[in-house]
């Protein structure tokens, strides 16, 4: 089976202009990352803030062009710096952002939010069909037709994230990039959104790139895990391999730092405290 997404040695530099007497400074945000991802799988990218995971997400979604390296989507080479981006490529990859409060336009009704991708990308579609599809998608993400004419401020954080997911799915993408989709949500709402993502993956055969720094969520949802540190992929493997036998020292640090809500862990801590 050919991979839905493949990247080879992707690099991204940012130039900071130095001024008259100072040299330009170059920041290497992503330093040569490669992987391939098959259809229906979930790759989780883990790392701390500033490690380049969101920059990589922007490259994967073809928002930003890489400085060097190759990006293949469904086996087709994409180079937005040279060729620009065709509407059908845009249809294939969609993104859901971290903050559902910031990623929806407060002046746009939910129905318009959902129909806009169709207006832009499928100009020949009649308005009645657009409406129908948007209503159908609302239902799929667990909202109702009564929500069609409401504004984003009338929804809770979890519902807004559902709207953002619905918008991303309007064009039937094959790849969905999720940039910390549940880190702004409460525990119970987080569980609902994670379940929704799993349901949608089963139904549409979606491929996910899931960016997160919450290892318990990653362990639950991912098939493969990639750990990034200062722009490099320091570890990449199946979920079980990475979690049971972390190789890189940074991965080990990350695991050690993650608070664990297990009874054995609490017992150990209380024992340490009593001894001290």
């Amino acid at each position: 089976m050919s991979p839905v997404l493949e990247i080879r040695d992707i690099k991204r530099d940012y130039r900071l202009p130095g001024g008259l007497f100072r040299q330009d400074k170059v920041i290497h945000a992503v330093k040569g990352v490669s992987f391939a991802l098959e259809k229906g799988k979930t790759l989780a990218i883990v790392g701390e803030s500033g490690c380049g995971k969101s920059t990589l997400a922007r490259i994967l979604t073809m928002i930003d062009a890489p400085t060097a390296g190759e990006l293949f989507i469904e086996g087709k080479r994409v180079d937005i710096a040279k060729d620009g981006l065709s509407p059908e490529m845009r249809r294939k990859v969609q993104i859901v952002f971290q903050n559902p409060y910031g990623s929806l336009n407060p002046r746009q009704k939910v129905g318009e939010v959902l129909m806009e991708p169709l207006v832009i990308n499928q100009t020949d579609m009649p308005a009645s069909e657009r409406r129908e599809r948007a209503q159908g998608m609302l239902k799929k993400v667990g909202l109702g037709p009564e929500h069609f004419n409401r504004y984003p401020h009338m929804f809770s954080g979890g519902q807004r994230q559902r709207i953002a997911i619905a918008r991303a799915l309007m064009l039937n993408p094959s790849l969905l990039v999720l940039d910390e989709p549940v880190s702004a949500l409460d525990l119970s709402v987080q569980a609902q959104v994670l379940n929704l993502l799993a349901d949608l993956q089963d139904e549409f055969g979606l491929t996910y790139v899931f960016i997160s720094h919450d290892l318990s969520v990653v362990r639950y949802i991912a098939d493969e895990v990639m750990v990034m540190y200062f722009g490099e992929a320091v570890e990449h493997g199946t979920r079980d391999a990475v979690f049971s036998n972390p190789q890189h020292s940074y991965t080990k640090t990350l695991f050690a730092a993650t608070p664990r809500a297990s009874v054995e862990n609490i017992k150990a801590r209380l024992a340490r405290k009593a001894a001290a």
Partner: protein, 280 residues
């Protein structure tokens, strides 16, 4: 151990266009000296509002009522505003969620730490500076003497949170309230900040109230846990029995929704209907 903070039947109401809204409804709790109490709940459960009421930081539109609100045996609700201001920031202090937003961007870090020392302890300039350096050192900021003249925007989120902690512990408070102190931070930084808080708590024997929605943080820090939902206290237990044997259906649902406790390929969700009748 003597009781530091005692709250009985606290309720907070806000006046809204559609009538009064009760954010906190009949919550009681006690904090002993040297104890770590975690308050857990989702957003909107009233966990922050109840602690803001203790600190006296709610806007005047909020109606705070309680049968008892004692801090070291003194009635907080009976105090006048100036007596309360003398207490807040000195004997009880609070750390907020957004370190970047809760420091003043217009003043240096040193000024903001020294301000507390000037207002509450009346130290002279030299002593203030020495103490500020000592505090920055205690919270683990490298090269503290030169960092005093840094502005908040020149520091990272983790460092800003350390400065916030330095401001809060400047007068050696008896009670420290940490309102989601690590929510905005990376896991590695979160670990450092939690370790720092626990070390300071043990060294000074402070009472510490941790407000959080992260069950992992609760497991790593708390002695006792209060679970809140929609402004009401659902359950109170020591940390081990809460995780081992949760009594209330809401606590059970909350623990089951943790991804690390997942057994099947879907997470059980917290449905309000399941325990709504218990609330009645």
């Amino acid at each position: 151990m003597s009781i530091l903070l005692e709250i009985e039947n606290l309720s907070v109401e806000f006046e809204t266009a559609s009538g009064p809204f009760r954010a906190v409804d009949g919550v009681s709790m006690k904090v002993h000296e040297g104890e770590v109490l975690a308050i857990v709940g989702e957003s909107g459960s009233g966990k922050s509002v109840s602690m803001l009421a203790v600190m006296g930081l709610l806007p005047w539109t909020a109606k705070v009522r309680a049968d008892k609100m004692l801090f070291q045996g003194r009635d907080l609700l009976g105090l006048d505003a100036s007596a309360r201001r003398k207490l807040v920031g000195k004997d009880m202090a609070m750390i907020f969620q957004e370190p970047m937003a809760s420091l003043n961007p217009c003043f240096t870090v040193g000024f903001q730490i020294e301000e507390v020392l000037r207002v509450h302890l009346g130290l002279d300039r030299k002593a203030r500076r020495a103490r500020a350096i000592e505090l920055l050192d205690a919270v683990g900021i490298p090269d503290p003497a030169s960092r005093l003249s840094a502005y908040p925007h020149q520091m990272s989120g983790g460092q800003c949170q350390r400065v916030m902690i330095a401001v809060a512990i400047a007068c050696n408070p008896k009670l420290l309230i940490a309102d989601e102190p690590t929510t905005a931070l990376d896991v590695t930084i979160q670990k450092q900040i939690l370790d720092l808080l626990m070390r300071l708590q043990a060294e000074h024997g402070m009472g510490l109230i941790m407000i959080t929605h992260n069950m992992g943080v609760v497991a790593e820090t708390a002695d006792r846990v209060v679970v809140q939902y929609k402004g009401k206290k659902m359950e109170e237990a020591d940390v081990l029995s809460l995780f081992e044997n949760p009594q209330h259906p809401y606590t059970k649902a909350l623990l089951a929704a943790l991804p690390e406790n997942a057994t099947g390929d879907r997470l059980p969700t917290v449905s309000a209907a399941a325990f709504e009748e218990v609330l009645q």
